[in-house]
């Protein structure tokens, strides 16, 4: 890729980061993340993969990754509105009306923070089985139902909401996607406390919520295709995670170098390294393919499967390396990472669901 872009980025960061730190210090609260996204957006770095007309730089995925890696080197907190920048924004760009695309600059500059209303308590991995209903009433849809596991749900101003608009159609067919202002009356958001005690997700309840018909994204009952666009971008993100995962393992090894690990522990770390290096290779290959304009194939599902299980094992190894310190309060971050990692094989497609997809769609095996 062009080194000029990265040079420009470094020039920007060298200037912006110290100034930002002066004001915010090492804080990584939501407000700081919002402020940092605004700074990055002003420099044109918040969504370098977006089209130029939407405020991006139209860079391919692997260059976006390089930008993220350089940025990561500065140790700044993550941008606040990642779901909007990574998943919802590109979906709006692909499916939105000109009016709907007006959300894009506001997503960039943090005026709007988006979340995705996909999972439901009764459906879980069975996305097509969703039951939140939207009934047409004049120029509005009236929405009733419940969403769960909504990331950033407590912070979001808007939601890409999947609803059932035709209860009689086969499961995938009667779904539509709505763009919902979270301040609409009838919406209630409750935090979900996770097993590590934190609350990164929310439950969202809809009671007679009126959403204008103009906020329909794509066609009525064609929401499944819209969803697939969003999930495709979500899974592309997994390829980026895969390359980051290798760095995480390398860092862990560097931290334990010369620490007198037992040979068995050394071997365990090397096994993690091999696993991470290989999944990162697959991630890089996927990003190059995407960059070359090819449709990524099964690699994304493979990466999700392998990365999530490898990440879970890595978290267990971190706990093992901390030993009794991890469980007796002396190394709480290892314990917290271990607990958090339990979600890796559940969120964004459980391992069994990913294996179903691979065996049916790639290998062509019959449905059970």
């Amino acid at each position: 890729m062009s080194t000029e872009v990265l040079d420009e980025l470094r020039g920007f960061l060298d200037e912006a980061v110290p100034r930002f730190r002066e004001q915010f210090g090492e804080d990584s609260s939501w407000e700081t993340r919002i402020a940092w996204q605004r700074t990055m957006a002003e420099g044109g770095w918040a969504a370098p993969g977006w089209a130029v007309e939407n405020g991006g730089r139209a860079l391919p995925a692997h260059e976006v990754l390089a930008i993220e890696e350089v940025t990561a080197g500065y140790g700044m907190p993550p941008l606040a509105g990642m779901l909007g920048l990574k998943n919802v924004g590109p979906t709006l760009a692909a499916w939105g009306t000109p009016e709907q695309k007006e959300h894009l600059p506001r997503i960039l500059n943090t005026e709007e923070v988006w979340c995705q209303g996909f999972s439901e308590p009764g459906a879980g991995s069975d996305l097509a089985g969703l039951r939140t209903r939207a009934v047409r009433d004049g120029d509005d849809y009236v929405v009733n139902g419940q969403k769960i596991w909504t990331s950033n749900g407590m912070h979001a101003t808007h939601m890409e909401l999947l609803v059932r608009t035709d209860p009689d159609a086969p499961k995938h067919r009667g779904i539509s996607a709505l763009l919902v202002d979270m301040s609409t009356p009838g919406i209630e958001v409750r935090p979900i406390r996770q097993i590590n005690g934190q609350a990164e997700f929310a439950e969202v309840f809809f009671t007679d919520v009126r959403v204008p018909v103009d906020n329909l994204l794509g066609k009525e009952n064609d929401g499944w295709n819209v969803t697939m666009t969003t999930l495709g971008h979500e899974r592309s993100g997994v390829a980026i995670f895969a390359t980051r995962f290798e760095r995480e393992v390398r860092d862990l090894i560097a931290r334990h170098r010369g620490e007198g690990l037992t040979p068995v522990q050394q071997d365990t770390l090397v096994r993690h390294f091999i696993e991470a290096r290989v999944v990162a290779i697959l991630g890089e290959a996927t990003l190059s393919r995407v960059a070359a304009g090819e449709q990524p194939g099964s690699e994304q599902s493979v990466i999700k499967l392998v990365w999530s299980e490898a990440g879970q094992r890595l978290a267990a190894t971190k706990l093992e390396l901390a030993g009794i310190d991890a469980v007796s309060g002396a190394a709480p971050e290892a314990a917290d990472a271990y607990l958090s990692a339990r979600a890796m094989t559940i969120a964004a497609g459980t391992s069994p669901i990913v294996k179903n997809i691979l065996s049916e769609r790639v290998l062509g095996l019959p449905r059970g």
Binding site: G124, G129, R193, Q194, V327, R342
Partner: protein
């Protein structure tokens, strides 16, 4: 030592299970998490009195039941299953056993009856803080102790501490009141929310020595501690499997109970295999410890290593089966996982016990 029949042991199991389900249901366990000691003192008195749990290992002449590791294994499986917060492991198992094996008749006579009826709660400190190991200095008829102990089980509820310290190149066991001057107790934030570990700091604290040379006694306590952890883990694993199976039978996805999907079925079958092996291994270790504690070292390491790894897999598997709901604070799954994983590291982790086995089997060096 009193021996029991199979039927009596099943009665014991049923009695403990019934008591705990009644007095310490999950709602109570959760309430206790936020209390100062983590222990419901009344329930512990009842467990001690009605079930005789506190005196299970105490010889009959000192007011206990004089039972063996066979019955203890059953009680521990139940305490794991119920996430018991009472100081059963710390006081009735570890501290009590330290006194029993100390060979000190006076101390036994003085302390064991109180431990057996639950009116005394003791905690045992054997892991030195490497920054300040506990040192004992003679002082008239007694001793004075200075230093810190870590990973003291059930530290918060104890009124009496038993701690070890090096004496003349060997090990001495000492007893002191928990509330005395110079004693500082710190509850550390353990991964396990249902059992308090902690740190005990002693600054020139008067103490009485218990028995004489305690090296063999300490080894015996460590073996019992490792066994006790494994036994609790077997109980936890069994309960995790039950919850997972119940959920798989009733929760529907894609229009069918998820328990009809082979992926779930086979995972649960593997967990069943683990649970059955954990139980069998604990039973075998209990029998060996009761019959011939001197030769139980191998089986103790086998059972501690096996239950630590297999038990973790079963508890993690519960969350996998439950999916999102298993990742919530409100579901009991994480309480089991936290306790399971903590037990894996107390009294030697699986990898430490494997290293011990490698040495004992003559593979190293």
């Amino acid at each position: 030592m009193t021996t029991t029949t199979v039927a009596e042991r099943e009665d014991l199991r049923a009695a403990i299970r019934g008591f705990l389900a009644d007095r310490l249901p999950e709602s109570t366990v959760r309430e206790l998490i936020d209390t100062e000691t983590g222990v419901d003192a009344r329930s512990w008195t009842q467990l001690a009195g009605e079930l005789g749990l506190a005196g299970l290992l105490v010889p009959e002449e000192h007011g206990g039941q004089g039972l063996s590791t066979v019955e203890l294994g059953i009680a521990l499986q139940e305490s794991g299953r119920a996430l018991l917060g009472a100081p059963f492991l710390g006081s009735a198992v570890l501290a009590t056993w330290a006194l029993v094996v100390s060979g000190d008749d006076a101390a036994a006579t003085g302390l064991l009856p109180g431990l057996a009826d639950g009116s005394t709660v003791a905690a045992l400190g054997i892991d030195d803080d490497p920054q300040s190991p506990v040192r004992a200095v003679p002082d008239g008829d007694g001793w004075r102790l200075t230093g810190a102990k870590r990973h003291v089980v059930d530290v918060a509820a104890a009124d009496t501490f038993l701690v070890t310290a090096e004496v003349d190149g060997g090990v001495g066991l000492f007893v002191l009141p928990a509330a005395g001057d110079g004693v500082d107790v710190e509850q550390t934030a353990s991964l396990d929310l249902t059992r308090r570990l902690g740190r005990v700091r002693l600054a020139d604290v008067p103490a009485q020595r218990v028995g004489t040379e305690f090296t063999a006694g300490l080894a015996s306590v460590r073996e019992l501690g490792a066994f006790a952890c494994a036994a609790e883990q077997a109980g936890i694993a069994g309960r995790c499997l039950e919850i997972a199976v119940e959920y798989a039978r009733t929760r529907e996805q894609f229009g069918k109970p998820i328990g009809s999907f082979q992926a779930i079925k086979h995972q649960l079958a593997e967990h069943l295999a683990r649970v059955e092996q954990m139980r069998a291994a604990v039973t075998a270790a209990a029998a060996e410890l009761a019959a011939s504690p001197g030769s139980a070292r191998e089986i103790v390491s086998v059972v501690k290593a096996y239950c630590g790894d297999a038990g973790t897999t079963v508890a993690e598997g519960l969350i996998d089966t439950l999916g999102g709901i298993g990742f919530t604070w409100e579901h009991v799954a994480h309480l089991y996982l936290r306790r399971m994983k903590t037990l894996a590291y107390l009294f030697g982790s699986p990898s430490e016990h494997r290293a011990r086995l490698a040495a004992d089997l003559g593979l190293t060096g």
